[in-house]
Subunit: 246 residues, 2 copies
């Protein structure tokens, strides 16, 4: 098993992908860690662009991918990695071509900012079988390394679209369920299978301009003294309700 | 308005509270940041032990507490703080005396390890009006600064007990609802108002020795491909169901 040694030029290119702008221009994203990389290799949605393995751990590269892989020593892995302790595997994947809108229930995110929340929401969508998340352009980049890592592989199975949410929600004929503080008790709402659940920003909630596009406001009643629910935990609670009768 | 300057001995003592062992011996915990400290001062459950304000920001100390407060300069605030950028206020509070078991619904945590999850769970309990969380001794310290911060003030309103969970659950006559992968669909479960919801460790779930003490196993059905739900999001979903008919 001979793997090509990684070149200085390729190291430089992968390092440049730590910048959001470059990742976008190149249409790719970086994944670190054996488990996540192997999930990515098995996924249909994303295509492998580059695979780098630590030279002492080449056996973890699946046979089908060995020809396309590069080996790197410890110093090189450290140069490539965004983590304090680099993993044995790192890969670059191409972002998926987005398919036309599907009929299933969708999630829409209005300026969710925290990478950890975004990763948790991807993971939740993956659990509840939501195939597509539509995000405002102000929402955190789902290919941010922290999001990729927190998604636990969900990034490989879910379509994430960044678009003008105002146009998107204005043009849709689907019912839009918006998480607000003064809506109907979420237990009493019947969610249509082609609906869209709209969640807002961590501090400010759903922006004023999107509020008129909500067809059904939903609320998770409060029983104690907390000021607010985190957006990821609120999404968890509402998606569980969406699937109540499925 | 004259506030006493903080002494070297007091700085040394507060710094020593970064260690869990010392925090436990002293029966106190440290809170940083104006919002959280003011919430703590207003709470009934915890007593103020020491309050330190940056000398240029003494006006943010409520009048009733000025006699008990100390002023510190920037260097001293940096010495005291566990954060990269110290806040204007820092306080030490006494842990509450635990009252006898109450009748309301309780949450029990079996070896939850991640401070962020623990903080999120405290915040959820605070939203859903759960007054008491009973933790196994292996569960992360709720007075860990990361937990205190992530709890968004919930730490001041919720009783957290660390005990031998095996004895506790063996001795109780309340129904114990355990989050497992092979239980009843959580939407179909009727939760008794004096029940206990038992949540397990991030990687391993509920420990084998506690499983026989579960009176009703509950499951959040999966519709997609994710391997697991995060313990905090699962707690969110189940607590929302517990309060379904309240």
């Amino acid at each position: 098993m001979n793997m090509e040694k990684i070149s200085k030029a390729r190291i430089k290119w992968i390092r440049s992908l730590h910048q959001k702008k470059v990742r976008e221009q190149e249409g790719v994203f970086v994944v670190e860690g054996e488990k996540m990389v192997l999930e990515g290799l098995a996924s249909e949605l994303h295509t492998l662009v580059a695979l780098v393995a630590h030279k002492d751990e080449l056996s973890i590269v699946p046979e089908d991918f060995r020809e396309a892989a590069f080996s790197a020593d410890t110093t090189e892995m450290e140069q490539l990695s965004g983590l304090k302790t680099p993993n044995k595997l790192l890969a670059v994947f191409k972002r998926p071509e987005l398919t036309a809108t599907q009929k299933g229930f969708e999630l829409a995110l209005d300026s969710v900012q925290d990478p950890g929340n975004m990763g948790t929401i991807l993971r939740l969508a993956d659990w509840f079988g939501i195939e597509r998340i539509v995000c405002s352009r102000e929402t955190v980049d789902c290919y941010n390394p922290k999001v990729v890592q927190a998604s636990m592989g969900a990034i490989f199975r879910i379509q994430v679209v960044y678009t003008d949410l105002l146009s998107y929600l204005s043009d849709t004929k689907r019912p839009v369920y918006g998480a607000l503080l003064n809506g109907e008790n979420h237990h009493a709402v019947s969610y249509k299978p082609d609906g869209i659940l709209l969640m807002g920003n961590e501090g400010n909630g759903i922006s004023d301009k999107l509020i008129p596009l909500i067809t059904q406001a939903v609320t998770i009643p409060r029983f104690g003294a907390a000021e607010s629910l985190n957006v990821a935990t609120a999404t968890a609670i509402l998606l569980a309700e969406v699937r109540k009768n499925d």
